[in-house]
């Protein structure tokens, strides 16, 4: 929506507009009978029992690890080794130490064993999940041997689109794993309206994706072909999206510098 989407300001506007569109889209989706789903109550029961068993083990088991201690250690590792300036060596240490914490977190026992509102139970339940998430961050950062946005590697300061223009997908495949399985989803430069270029700040020091010059040339050609047509025609050529919107959000919007037909 904003193209150069940075922190705070831009993403607030983006959240509001996206929320409006997505909410409508989901409501429309649920409205269509072909999207009905059939879930057996047995399946729901199974999931419930699975979670309940985890809580029971925390409360009733005679395990010994202290959830608050694990949380503090995790925070310290993340601050010291997975912070603003990152380095392969530090990240590798962090991944190693976090794995050890994850193993220990499977042995958490509570000192305060009340059911219902119980702050220690809450910490215990959450810290196990936090450690998994911390490992997704640290392990993903260790594998990503480039710098991109908020991920800055001192040992790989350059952005590398050729190798890393792809999305990290982390999956926990089994309950006993201590590392997530990472897969990568390639982004298709040839379908982009604005191929990744210089970000407008810092040195122009990055490695282009091989498709970037091709797509840039293609876009230039489209612009030439359209010969000064308005931005809507260009959008339609480069990245048509209107059909994806809920019906009532299609069509043009008035802007201060772009009055609508017949209202000039």
């Amino acid at each position: 929506m904003h193209g150069f989407n940075r922190l705070g300001g831009n993403s607030v506007a983006e959240t509001v507009v996206a929320g409006m569109i997505v909410g409508e889209y989901i409501a429309d989706f649920c409205d269509r009978s072909e999207n009905d789903i059939d879930i057996s109550t047995a399946l729901i029961h199974e999931a419930l029992e699975h979670e309940r068993a985890k809580l029971d083990v925390l409360i009733e088991g005679n395990r010994t690890e202290n959830a608050a201690v694990l949380m503090t250690e995790m925070k310290e590792i993340m601050t010291a080794k997975v912070g603003i300036f990152r380095h392969g060596k530090k990240l590798a240490e962090a991944v190693d130490e976090l794995q050890k914490l994850l193993v220990r977190s499977r042995n958490i026992g509570l000192r305060y064993k009340a059911r219902g509102a119980n702050p220690e139970l809450e910490t215990a339940y959450r810290v196990q999940k936090m450690l998994k998430l911390a490992l997704c961050v640290a392990y993903g950062a260790l594998q990503r041997t480039e710098s991109r946005g908020a991920h800055f590697r001192e040992d790989f300061p350059r952005r590398d689109d050729a190798e890393w223009l792809k999305r990290t997908i982390a999956t926990w495949r089994s309950e006993t794993d201590t590392l997530p399985s990472l897969t990568y989803e390639q982004l298709d430069v040839m379908k982009m309206e604005l191929p990744p270029g210089w970000r407008g700040y810092g040195a122009k020091d990055y490695i282009d994706h091989p498709d970037t010059p091709k797509r840039t040339a293609q876009i230039e050609q489209v612009k030439k072909k359209l010969n000064g047509a308005d931005r809507f025609a260009l959008q339609q050529e480069l990245l048509p999206y209107e059909r994806l919107l809920p019906e009532r959000f299609r069509g043009k919007n008035e802007r201060i510098d772009e009055m609508m037909e017949g209202e000039r």
């Binding site: 509570l110 305060y112 509102a117 702050p119 220690e120 008035e254 802007r255 201060i256």
Partner: protein
Amino acid sequence: MKNENHTLRQLKISVLRFNPQEPGSAPRMQTYEIEEADGMTLFIALNEIREKQDPSLHFDFVCRAGICGSCGMMINGRPTLACRTLTKDLDSEISLAPLPVFELIADLSVNTGKWMRHMSERLETWVHLNGDKIDLTKPEERMEPELAEKIYELDRCIECGCCIAGCGTVRMREDFVGAVGLNKIARFRLDPRDKRNDDDFYELIGEDNGVFGCMSLLGCHDVCPKKLPLATQIAFLRRKMAAVGWK
């Protein structure tokens, strides 16, 4: 960094403990001792107590920066936010109790959300379009920056509940909407997008559980952690509502 001349105190923090969910639990004071640290807030102190001494201690925090409104509690008898209270501003013996009026969850944790939701639904604290349609293809209606500022000033309320805990009228009238509720009406009354007029607002607050119940004790105004001009707003609303009543 430790200051050589500055000796760190040993704090004695007494907490009113009671867990209605726990069979046999009775209200009692329990005292914890911890060593003060530089820049320590009650948020830090309570977390340290829970982590190192007593995992069963209930209290609420989310943002630890005075914007979520979760950590309102009675600190030495005065309702305020624990995350914005530095221990260095207090004596070494500190007493903590849950906010009164609200439903007690346990120890220092109370359910302000339930109370606030009830108040919100009763006062309909949202923009009423009254049949006006919003045309999404048109730019938003413009607002004078001065007016936007005035609305924003009142919108800073975080619903922490301190004004309710510090209110005398609430003790006498269980259904009193309190400064938090009246402030919201003042906020929507300013908003040109809300099409309700003073007759509509009179239906909501023109009674003893509304603006006429306030005894002007100014407790709300004194304790508000966000320094909202609550007494001023209530006095102004009372005048406006009285004018409707006399018609």
